[in-house]
Symmetry: C2
Subunit: 236 residues, 2 copies
Amino acid sequence: MYPIQFCILGSDEDSNLGVACEDGTGRERTVSEVIQASARRERTRQRLLDAAAEVFAEEGLDAASVEAICERAGFTRGAFYSNFESKDELFFELATRVSNEKLSAVTARLRELEASTDRPTHPAEIVGRLLDFETDDRLGVLILSEIRNHSLRDATLSASYLAWEDAMSARVARVIEDVARSSGLAPRMSADELARLFLMTWESASQRAVMMGLDNEALCAAVSDRMRALAEALVG
Amino acid sequence: MYPIQFCILGSDEDSNLGVACEDGTGRERTVSEVIQASARRERTRQRLLDAAAEVFAEEGLDAASVEAICERAGFTRGAFYSNFESKDELFFELATRVSNEKLSAVTARLRELEASTDRPTHPAEIVGRLLDFETDDRLGVLILSEIRNHSLRDATLSASYLAWEDAMSARVARVIEDVARSSGLAPRMSADELARLFLMTWESASQRAVMMGLDNEALCAAVSDRMRALAEALVG
């Protein structure tokens, strides 16, 4: 698998946590040593991602060089390249982290709705309830815009971008299928096409809100409005 | 009016063509001198726009400096700044020129449809007929992506971007209203909301096609497919 797809679609790195393996010195590592090394590696990755998010938010993708990110995180270039193939791979992973947070929050709302006795029946109301939380979408919007802009000019990056976008659409499509199943509503498009429309609308509404200088609360409200209007028009 | 909005929404520069005015030397210019000066000015603008499109397509917005554009067009920086307030203004005008070409082609198709005795009645078929021409959308997609990316980080530019996007949506909304009137079809959203969805879908489908390395014909076909699916779901 291409390294970036690996990080987008999920790595199986942790699946051999319980297996004692060779450490190169001929001595077998104990299970606890392997777990510690894996946890340390994960902390390094997270610190690099945090640093990248900060530098990027302040200065943009071009200015967020590997050097600048390492300096902010307090790591060497060696540590960077033992964790990420390239700056592009790191930014795809950062975009994935931001999107995962958003999708997890939506999924948590969906489980609450399904368990509730007071379930909404109108498409707009369902979408409103699923999006009724506040996140800071500014970083996600900026990263996506920069990555896409670069991908339009770079064939290697564009393959990764398309894989990333397809993976995101597929995850949103599964949420839509869950909602359709539990609500009994019938969308007027396939779940995949609907997912792409919802993602586009989320991004376009967020971008406009960022450009209008709206604060977080107003940004989330603007996005929710557009998403509810879309649901109302496209379902039933 | 802000200079960029001026160029987006149309300048009234030519409306005083027939008026003889002072040329600064105290001598009144003749009508024919004014017309010649205005035509010369227009040729200069067009040559600068052509040069900007070339340099931008080859190297991107950042590399397409005012110097590089002037060198390509064979003009001085003075000529540039007597025509455009900034590089940003020039790129908004370039985006407008590309969009105008596209919108003019759609409008021409609409007039043909309205005059025809064999008028399609299904939403997808109508949209397919309106988009049944081939243009090179690559430049437009790249410019929009770069301008938007810059606007997300620059408050002055973002105001211009929002004005630009609103003006484009309003023009597409008028086409949608015309189609709805002449076809008797009833969209499930307001013309303005529909216009934004069509513009987003056009851009997203074009971007994917560019990233997939599709040629012009395949790009136009991919865009038309997505637009027809959208029309089918959102009308009637």
